[in-house]
Every structure is written in structure tokens, then in C-alpha cells.
Amino acid sequence: MEFLLENILNLVGFLVGLAIGIMSFIGFRNTGSPTLFRLTIAFFSISLGFFVIWSGYMVEDFVTKSGNIERWIQTLGIAIQTVGYFFIAFSHSIKSFFPKSSYFRSVGIFPLFLVSSVQLEHIFRSVSFILLAYGAIETMLSYFENRNKGAISVSVGLALLALGEFLGWYSFVFPESILYPASMIIKIGGLIALFIPVSKVPLTKIKFDEDFGK
């Protein structure tokens, strides 16, 4: 069951990330917008991250048959996804997120020491959680300014991904519990919510301009 969910999650993540990444790239090529360039990097990274983990599961299933995915492949995939989440948060001017007070900055570093004894994977998961939660909050705030309904769906999607990352990170405390499968189902829901408004963008009228920007 867990293996099946992992495969569905990573395939959906790969496809959704790739679709949004391609759309952002077309937008960047047609308008030259730096925002769309950042979104392109973000979603191609997310897509690649999911693909790496999916490949790891495939190699385990068809080649090594060890019963468990290689830990370093999982860590690599999550790290690449974290880069993607960083670029989403960065697009929302992440500088405003970090507290200016040196006291709060030192306190902010403290959790990193708490998790430094566990594997890198858990550090990446916790960083991903923070970045996704920040992106979800900023997107929801933008909804209150623009009243664009698509922003609600994207915000919910990012929030579900954040919750999924949190549960996935927390499940190492209770390894055999329902937490990990639940985190995967929540993340699949988040990816679908992320894709819904993007799928409504009418790309058929856009002519891909090879010469613009030269």
C-alpha cells in the first residue's frame, strides 16, 4: 500500500511539476518576466525531485529488490524539491520573512541544531515545510488583495503540501503508524489543488515567439 501510494505521489508530482514548469517557461519566453523564470526553475526542480524519488522506487522494485529505496536517492529527491519550494517562496520576496532582530535570528537558527543529529532528509523536510507554509500564507494574502479565486486553490495546495511534509517528517517518530501514508495522500491532494487553476489557463491562443528577447 505504501509502495503504491509512493509511486502515485511521485508520478503525480513529476507530471504536475512538469506541466506547470513548461507553462511557466512558455510564459517566460513570451514575456521575459523574471517572476515566470523563477516559477520555471521552481516547478522544474519540484518535478525533477519527484522523478528522482520515483526512479529510486523503480530501481528498487525491478533491479535491486532490496525492499527499501536507497536512502541517498530519497534524500537527493527531497533536496531538489526543497530548491523548488525555495524559489516559490523567493518569488514572494522571502527577505521579508527573516526577522531583522539579531536575537530572533539566533533563535531561528536554534531548531537546526535540534535536528542536526538526524538524517539530512529530515532537515530538508523541515525546511520544505517552512518554505511551503510561507508560500501558502503569502498566496492567501494575495487573494485578499486581488480576489483571484485561483489563488485560493494554489494556497490550499501549498498548505496541503506543507502539512504532508510535516507529517512525513514527523512520521519518523512513529515509523509504523498511519502518519506516512496520510502524508502521501495529503500531498497528492495538494498537487491536484495546485494544478486546478493552472489547468484553466488558455494556452491555445498563445503563439510561442522564438525571436522575442533576442
Binding site: 507553462m23 513570451n30 518569488s91 486581488n146 483571484n148 485561483g150 489563488a151 489557463v201 491562443k205 503563439k207
Partner: protein, 95 residues
């Protein structure tokens, strides 16, 4: 408080004015565009030069004064601009 506009938004406003809000068939004058796009003369001169060199605007010499009209690539760019503005809005971002 005045709304912050990105460079892309200013370009979108200028192109939209030359497409939808022309003074006459000859095109829009610089003064008209300054007023409609709410931008300084020095800044709009540089932007208009770029838009003409990219083929998005056509410069028309009309009795000694320059006027600007949107070209076909400009219309396509504006269509793409609106589409991807909507796309970025979904992420709470401005292009």
C-alpha cells in the same frame, strides 16, 4: 497609497493604451501615453524605443510629431501578457 507597478505592467499598460484607447487612427502621441500610462517622459522614451526595436510598436511620423501604434506582434504579446498575468495571479505573484 500608489500601487507599485512592475516594468512588465507598465509595458502592458502602454501596449493596452495603443490597442484599445487611441486618440485617432494615426496612433497615440507620447504626451497622451504619458498621461494614460502615468509615467515620466524620460522613462517612457526608453521604453518606447525598446518596444519599437522589438517590433511591438510601430512609430508613425505624423506632420513632424511621432505617434505610436500597436503592431501584430504587439497584439500577440499583449494577449500573452494577459494570459500569463492571470497565470501568475494564481500564485499570488505579479509578472
Amino acid at each position: 497609497m500608489a500601487e507599485y507597478r512592475t516594468h512588465m505592467k507598465i509595458i502592458g499598460d502602454i501596449l493596452a493604451t495603443t490597442r484599445d484607447d487611441l486618440q485617432d487612427e494615426d496612433g497615440a502621441s507620447v504626451t497622451y501615453l504619458i498621461r494614460k500610462a502615468n509615467i515620466s517622459h524620460s522613462r517612457i522614451s526608453a521604453i518606447l524605443k525598446t518596444l519599437v526595436s522589438q517590433g511591438l510598436l510601430e512609430k508613425v511620423d505624423n506632420q513632424g510629431s511621432n505617434k505610436y501604434k500597436i503592431s501584430q506582434p504587439g497584439r500577440e504579446f499583449l494577449q500573452a501578457y494577459y494570459t500569463f498575468t492571470n497565470f501568475a495571479d494564481n500564485f499570488g505573484l505579479s509578472i
